[in-house]
Symmetry: C2
Subunit: 214 residues, 2 copies
């Protein structure tokens, strides 16, 4: 994987919101949607939306906007959401249970096929129909089930050690819900989900500097 800086990060983070609005428009029978309509829904500048969408390769028609069907396909393709992916949950506690029940992920090709834990109380049970196995079985199951993504929901104190087990099991993509910055080999992609950054946004809004309604 090429190691590049990521100027497009905010764009990529915004695309799912665009997709949500465009799909809603489609379900209401709309054939074309303008960047301005999307921008107004999300309290963004229209120029920003047009720049973001340009990344997907689709251009709008003057006075009509973007063709809704094509735009949906282009965004989903850009995000890789048109390719189904198998994922495992590492840690089978409350957060893993919440994530495994989150329907939206399935629509984006993310399928949880197994969960792993070290607690005897949990092993052998299921969370939202996802079977829980012992962490020792990870490598075998990853191979058997052709898993490509691990979602890390263990306590932060166990994060690094567990991440190493995940990498040794042959997984190259980690969605990290712990508070730990993981040290992993260069070929492993890590996305850290930092819940405090959302709280930062809310705090600043409350303190009166900005407001958003997205």
């Amino acid at each position: 994987m090429t190691q590049t800086k990521i100027p497009a990060t905010p764009t990529i983070r915004r695309l799912p919101s665009y997709l949500h609005i465009i799909k809603q428009a489609q379900s209401e029978g709309t054939e074309y949607i303008s960047g301005t309509v999307i921008a107004n829904e999300l309290n963004l500048e229209p120029i920003q939306v047009r720049k973001d969408l340009a990344l997907t390769g689709i251009t709008g028609k003057p006075k009509r906007g973007y063709p809704v069907g094509e735009l949906i396909c282009a965004i989903e393709h850009f995000l890789g959401w048109d390719t189904p992916k198998k994922a495992v949950l590492i840690g089978a506690g409350n957060l893993a249970t919440a994530l495994s029940g989150y329907q939206e992920f399935k629509y984006h090709g993310l399928n949880f096929v197994a969960a792993f834990d070290t607690s005897a109380d949990r092993i052998g049970k299921t969370i939202h129909d996802v079977p829980i196995f012992a962490l020792d079985e990870l490598a075998a199951k990853v191979k058997e089930l052709e898993v490509t993504i691990a979602v890390l929901t263990v306590p932060s104190s166990q994060a690094q050690q567990t991440a190493e087990t995940v990498v040794q099991a042959g997984i190259n993509a980690i969605w990290n819900f712990t508070n730990t910055k993981l040290k992993v080999p260069d070929h492993v992609a890590v996305q850290r989900e930092d819940l405090t950054s959302g709280f930062a946004m809310l705090s600043v809004m409350i303190s009166g500097s900005i407001q958003t309604n997205d």
Copy 2:
């Protein structure tokens, strides 16, 4: 609250990561930290980090960097994290349980004082020492406990209706973990936590376009 566009959103989202690194440096006895060190940790451009930190009003010294203690205070003050806030969890399921057990929030002044649910199975119990009440009691408890934030973790289908109950109870800040874009009065701040946007990042990384290790 003034209705303004939010050019600083990505900056605000990055500040908690900076804070985490700077606090770690402090715990190791470091007195000054450079923007470049922070940038390298997070795979960002140093100019980006310096611009972001300028927003907090602290400037670095040439060749030494930022004074660690001052910088921590400035970021926490900018984010409003130096003021404790009382929050309630609306919905007391798996996600609420996970959030109530997340220690990091306490360090940032976010205190969960109560949870609310409509399920008789849950009312009267606790999640991580947070008592669960009937949703009917929300308005009274908000007044009694001086709550300013509601964290919405109900199913998306109940999100709008529940948000209205929250607003009627006198809460002006909603942290929305549902998939619904809430319609609320202008004076109510809403931060939507969109987990699919993190998955979008990971998907694009896997598809090989970009890589990050934050």
